[in-house]
Symmetry: C2
Subunit: 337 residues, 2 copies
DNA sequence: CTGAAAGCGCTTACAG
DNA sequence: CTGAAAGCGCTTACAG
């Protein structure tokens, strides 16, 4: 059988409370005692029993992360957020329990009701997300990565997608471009109100409008044929786009570059291209692309920070938007004409 | 505060042991009593406290799944296994804790040592995997999806990759093809000894050999340029391949089909193509491809089954290989010459 | 078919 | 700086 705190106490010649306090640091312990306890722990290979700890201490050191991973969604980006959350959680000694689509709501009820977890991180939130509706009734610390339509009472963290769109549009318009195009996510993402595609598209369109330039949006499925016809839409009409913003998965972006090549269009000579809110590396593309990156580690470590804060008691609801950064790679410049 | 078993017992007018037994079914309970208990549970919104349950019952109802999700690995396929595991686990009332690369070994020690989990599912195993080495010392139920170089003492489940290769090679050779090609994973996968690419490639080569036909292997990185040159390798030499087996991610397979198109090669007129051990849908390709699918649900639900069995006590170590199935779509036929 | 009670392995006031 | 002990909320022999 595994060693218990009693074994450690005996081995170290102290009481179990002293062992517990030495471990938690919640009470001063003399150096000499601490060393003996540490030696005993090493000697016995002791690890505190999680169940007992949870029961007595009312802390499980597990967070739930709910990420639907819908079948038509781009897995690598979404998983990058899950991994970033796991990594950030470990900084606070927390593990993560993964709740997926099948059991989004049932799972939330189960793990919070039975106190398997101390808090919840909500990923890939929809404008109107039933997980949020449920969460409001649940009385458990939670942080939303993303911003639902009604964020009242919630703690939300996200990249400032409106600022991303603004940056991209300004860059292009300042460069002299008057006809902008957005290569976006599949239509289904917008229809279901998936948070970041929607917010980005809206900001893109309204920024273009307020700068007085045209904005065309194409939303291809993830098939070759669709990527092609989306590019045809943007580039083969009477008023072809000269400033392209891509907010879609990497394979589509690579396709799009193929298509520009096939048309003999030079970047940035004929067309300026910006990759917006991308989680992947755009330097491996040909050519390397200017990018306004979406950094999962950033959003998630802040989210975990805010979740940990809530362990001590409720905090002020808020929407925290992280400022974007424009990274120059030479794919967007002034219109040369 | 949340309701406890004491509240339920009081509300139902029975003892707490009766409530517990009604919940677990480990002792008969009269219908009348059961109904009153169920009513009380509903009334109070009772959910058993996981920590207390784990402490008293020595069962946490959580499995760990360790999936490194290496950065250069194809996320969708790997996540499909994680999701399939989570889904299968839920059939037995289990949740899953996700352990990723950062914390593969430390995480395993932690969650098993502190009894956060009742068992471990090991995903994406390498030929020589330090997780396996660790696991052998750990005394916790475990099932490996995949087969390491030395499976002694382990319970392993996997698709029979050798049989997949056999099926593919036989199909092509029976169709008259004498020059086979394999479009495989990136070289790094083989170098690190990633299980299924290695096993597949070896079987492919040896099956071809024993059928007396040539076998060429290309292992492109996931870039356009590399996919192109890999296809050039296979199809632009003096003895171009006529039977192509693809064991790589979907975007590369799509690229490969592009490349065949670009060469004016007809499928299956000029080249027969089989997609091997693919987790994605090959009917959306142009043309739809014959496929010998790798079905995560299959491997994972069997793995979970075997893990649950071990909860009752040790079981015989074994390597269970699941038989593959050939699905015809018309992309592989006899050489028309 | 049901109940009273010990015990799982911790944390944390309470006491000194 | 340290200890003795109550108590967290369950499960499961033990008893009837």
């Amino acid at each position: 059988m595994a060693a218990t705190i009693i074994d450690v106490a005996r081995e170290a010649g102290v009481s179990i409370s002293t062992v517990s306090y030495a471990l938690s640091g919640k009470r001063p312990v003399s150096d000499r005692t601490r060393r003996r306890i540490e030696a005993a722990i090493l000697e016995l290979g002791y690890r505190p029993n999680a169940g007992a700890r949870a029961l007595a201490g009312r802390r499980t050191y597990v967070f739930a992360v709910t990420e639907p991973l819908r079948p038509d969604t781009y897995t690598p980006t979404h998983m990058a957020f899950v991994l970033a959350t796991a990594k950030a959680a470990r900084q606070y000694d927390y593990d993560v329990l993964l709740l997926t689509q099948e059991e989004a709501n049932g799972g939330l009820q189960r793990v919070t009701g039975s106190r398997i977890v101390d808090g919840v991180i909500v990923l890939d939130v929809l404008d109107h997300d039933e997980r949020i509706t449920l969460l409001r009734t649940l009385d458990i610390p939670a942080v939303v990565v993303g911003v639902p339509a009604d964020p009242a009472g919630l703690v939300c963290v996200d990249l400032d997608f409106a600022a991303v769109a603004q940056l991209a549009v300004d860059r292009l318009v300042d460069g002299g471009h008057r006809r902008l195009g957005l290569l976006g996510h599949p239509a289904a993402a917008y229809e279901r109100g998936q948070n970041f595609p929607v917010r980005f598209r809206e900001a893109f369109v309204s920024c273009a409008q307020s700068r007085g330039v045209s904005a065309q949006v194409a939303t291809p499925e993830r098939t070759i044929a669709d990527a092609r016809s989306a590019m045809a839409e943007l580039f083969d009409g009477p008023d072809p786009v000269t400033g392209l913003v891509m907010h879609c998965e990497d394979s589509i972006q690579m396709r799009a570059l193929d298509e520009l090549r096939a048309r003999g269009l030079d970047i940035p000579g004929d067309v300026s291209v910006i990759s917006a809110a991308s989680t992947f590396d755009t330097t491996t593309f040909t050519p390397a692309l200017d990018v306004i990156p979406l950094v999962p580690d950033q959003s998630c470590s802040r989210a975990v920070e805010l979740l940990v804060e809530q362990l001590e008691g409720p905090i002020e609801p808020r929407v925290e938007l992280l400022p974007p950064e424009y990274i120059e790679r030479g794919s967007a410049s002034a219109v040369l004409a």
